[in-house]
């Protein structure tokens, strides 16, 4: 119940953002929602299942281009484009998941990174579909007539609503047998297999689900930019996504949201601190977080609140554990 209260609080905060923040920050928060969806994919894949992907930017690109291409050539509405992007990215993810079965740890990371590096070149190559380096310009998202506010606010609510949907679906998915199987395969594959868990099925499915989420994120990314070009998906995007998820807390659903805030705002903050070398500031923050919060922001908050709760009676909302609402968060990271 406490966890539900926390989710309710998060929903309220998200709901009032357009009323309290200036419009450009609302625009930035749309990107946060997109990165949160992609980050959730990494939480499921890397945090729960132990498969490291440095190539999720490629799935973002795939999702974005699917939405843009079907809208551009056949006038498919965005509402249909998003699920289409999810399905196609998911299918490609399943195929790559099959290949990934043969690769572990750093080798898998390198193979997926190759995907991220190759993606911009591929997009340029198939000019007739993708528009090549000219990119594709999309019609801006319009709000329906009954919506009392701006088109940007409409996109904001739709995107964050989608965050809610994919979080709920993912929570249902990893609750129970499926989630236990993923975690067991991560922590001790041999024991898991001996209990009758089929590693091929579960690892491939995890990759497919994760890619589908990245595809959804990419579809919204295309809508909010209203323009896609191959350079929109540079290889560094994949690294930023994983770094964000790790800093945010890759063991927790909440970590995906904290991570998205990091992906979006840390470069801007770093630039404010030192315009000459933003990447240095970025790196220093990354090292500090890993030193003092090895399980990321979500893990750190969880521990801090747990300590608070032990010190004082649990009256205030703030003293409740951050992540108890989410099944995965009850799992304590162990090193066995």
């Amino acid at each position: 119940m406490r966890g539900n209260a926390l989710v309710a609080l998060a929903v309220i905060v998200i709901a009032i953002v357009p009323f309290v923040l200036p419009s450009f920050l609302v625009f930035d928060m749309i990107f946060v929602a997109e990165f949160a969806i992609a980050g959730l994919g990494l939480v499921v894949l890397t945090g729960m299942n132990g498969q490291i992907s440095l190539g999720h930017g490629a799935f973002l690109a795939l999702g974005g281009y699917v939405l843009a291409v079907v809208a551009h050539f056949w006038g498919v509405p965005y509402a249909l484009g998003v699920p289409l992007a999810a399905v196609l990215s998911g299918v490609v993810g399943l195929l790559i998941g099959l290949v990934a079965l043969r690769l572990e740890g750093a080798y898998l990371a390198l193979a997926t990174f190759a995907l991220a590096v190759a993606m911009p070149t591929l997009l340029k190559h198939f000019k007739s579909i993708t528009g090549g380096f000219n990119g594709l310009t999309l019609d801006p998202v319009g709000a329906p007539a009954w919506f009392p506010s701006t088109a940007q606010n409409w996109l904001y609510y739709v995107t964050w609503f989608s965050v809610g949907v994919v979080f709920l679906l993912s929570a249902l998915l990893v609750r129970g047998r499926f989630g236990r199987a993923l975690r067991a395969l991560r922590d001790n594959p041999i024991a898991a297999v001996s209990f009758g868990i089929n590693p091929y099925v579960y690892k491939t499915l995890a990759f497919g689900w994760s890619a589908a989420l990245a595809g959804v994120a990419g579809a919204f990314f295309a809508m909010s930019n209203a323009y896609l070009s191959p350079d929109s998906f540079q290889a560094t995007l994949s690294i930023q996504l994983l770094v964000g998820a790790v800093i945010g807390g890759i063991m927790s659903f909440w970590g995906a949201i904290f991570g998205a805030l990091i992906v979006q705002f840390l470069p801007l903050v770093a630039q404010k601190i030192n315009n000459g070398a933003p990447s240095v500031v970025y790196g220093v923050v990354l090292i500090l977080v890993m030193l003092f919060l090895p399980d990321g922001i979500a893990g750190g908050l969880h521990r801090a609140f747990a300590r608070l709760r032990n010190a004082s009676p649990p009256l205030a909302l703030e003293s409740e554990p951050v992540s108890s609402s989410v099944p995965i968060a009850t799992h304590q990271p162990t090193r066995e």
Partner: protein, 419 residues
């Protein structure tokens, strides 16, 4: 259960309260155009201070130095210029976010000198929808001069890439009719524009293009591309590349023992880079390279030591940007383009509006820009939006670029684009 309901209710009340209190922010009401007050004009910029094209970040710094100078000398029609320059790392999505911030948070009067072809393509629809001037974009892609009917708030400044490459093509057709041409180019709109121009200049010699090798800005180097051009037996080498890759392209050719006749596009012909290549790979790596010039060269003391424009530029650099190397032509580009901008703001008058700025920008006849190549006139009309159309070919001899012949006006070739 009761507690839960209470909480939810409180939350809803808070949300409703927030709605009524701040609902007004949905309809910002501006009496005049944003970004202009009694004593200030806010201009926004977007440059790659990080990433693969970070060499161009110095353009933004040069602009800032010139605005500081103008502000110290009374400003523009009694107003000081406030310059807000953001880093997009040469990435289109980041540029889109930056521009939203500039327009909606900083309330800039205009976006000035945003840099890069894809970057400017990405932000052009948003700025035009909102009627925000996107003036003097730092790219020579011809579409920014050509598409003015669809995007009336956008205009370029530097010579367009097609016009530049036409000059190279004509030079080859005239001077080296049997050349076997190899092209190193950036795989984007900018590279494609140069190739289109080159083919137009070559005319019936187009089939002498033996090999084209492209690179991506994410590539670490261009050694493989250069090797493939050499292996194809090319004796004429077109470098259509941004600085980092152009420098690599020159050094790599020399290291591979390949010494073709070389043409270098002018976005990378900064003297500091040429001297760097000379130092690393020897004089034979750079001697005889042909390029085009449309600005004065701050590193060429023999030619410009007593030039009043260069003296003026060096004074500004010494006072407002002492940490910068004044021989880096990117700073000079920044000061030169800022000079045209201030010129336009002055002419737009004290009752400054965005429409008046665009009027000044499209009626340019600037004969006194101190930093463009002597004799160049920065000129536009509402239907001809290529401000600089004059270029001169130059050859690298020993330590500097030596101009050859006279200024060529590419106005007619830019015009023929304007279909």
């Amino acid at each position: 259960m009761v507690r839960k309901v209470t909480r939810t209710a409180i939350g809803l009340i808070a949300a409703a309260f927030a709605f009524t209190v701040t609902g007004a922010t949905f309809a910002p009401a501006f009496a005049a155009d944003p970004g202009v007050s009694d004593n200030e004009i806010i201009l926004g910029g977007d440059h790659p201070f990080s990433g693969p094209a970070s060499a161009y970040g110095n353009i933004g710094k040069g602009i800032g130095a010139y605005f500081d100078y103008v502000n110290d000398h009374g400003g523009v029609n009694g107003r000081k210029i406030k310059w807000i320059d953001l880093d997009d790392g040469y990435s289109p999505p980041l540029a889109v976010q930056d521009v939203h911030q500039l327009v909606e948070q900083d309330h800039v009067f205009a976006v000035f000198d945003s840099l890069g072809t894809e970057v400017n393509t990405a932000i052009r629809p948003y700025l035009n929808q909102n009627g925000v001037p996107q003036v003097f974009v730092a790219t020579g892609a011809s579409k920014f001069g050509r598409d003015y009917k669809q995007f009336p708030w956008t205009i370029g400044w530097q010579p367009d890439y097609q016009a530049e490459a036409i000059i190279y093509g004509e030079d080859i057709a005239r001077e080296h009719p049997h050349a076997k041409i190899g092209i190193l180019y950036q795989n984007d709109d900018y590279g494609a524009d140069l190739i289109t121009g080159l083919k137009r200049g070559l005319g019936k010699h187009t089939n002498q293009i033996v090999k084209m090798a492209s690179y991506e800005t994410s590539d670490p180097d261009v050694n493989a591309q250069v090797a493939s051009l050499k292996a194809a037996g090319c004796d004429t080498y077109m470098i259509f590349a941004t600085p980092k890759f152009a420098i690599q392209g020159m050094i790599s050719a020399a290291k591979q023992g390949w010494h073709p006749l070389t043409y270098l596009n002018n976005v990378s012909n900064v003297v500091t880079y040429m001297r760097l290549v000379q130092k690393v790979a020897g004089p034979s790596a750079v001697n005889g390279i042909i390029t085009t010039i449309y600005l004065k060269d701050p590193g060429n003391d023999a030619r410009y030591a007593n030039d009043p424009g260069i003296k003026f530029y060096k004074e500004i650099m010494a006072k407002y940007l002492p940490s910068g190397d004044p021989t880096d032509g990117n700073y000079l580009y920044g000061v030169a383009i800022a000079y045209t901008m201030v010129d336009c703001l002055k002419r737009a008058g004290r009752d400054l509006t965005r429409a008046k700025l665009m009027d000044a920008v499209t009626h340019l006849d600037e004969t006194n820009n101190p930093l463009v190549y002597p004799g160049t006139v920065v000129r536009t009309t509402p239907t001809f939006r290529f401000p600089i159309t004059q270029l001169i070919t130059a050859r690298w001899l020993g330590t500097d670029w030596s101009p050859m012949g006279v200024l060529t006006d590419t106005r007619s070739s830019s015009m023929s684009d304007a279909k």
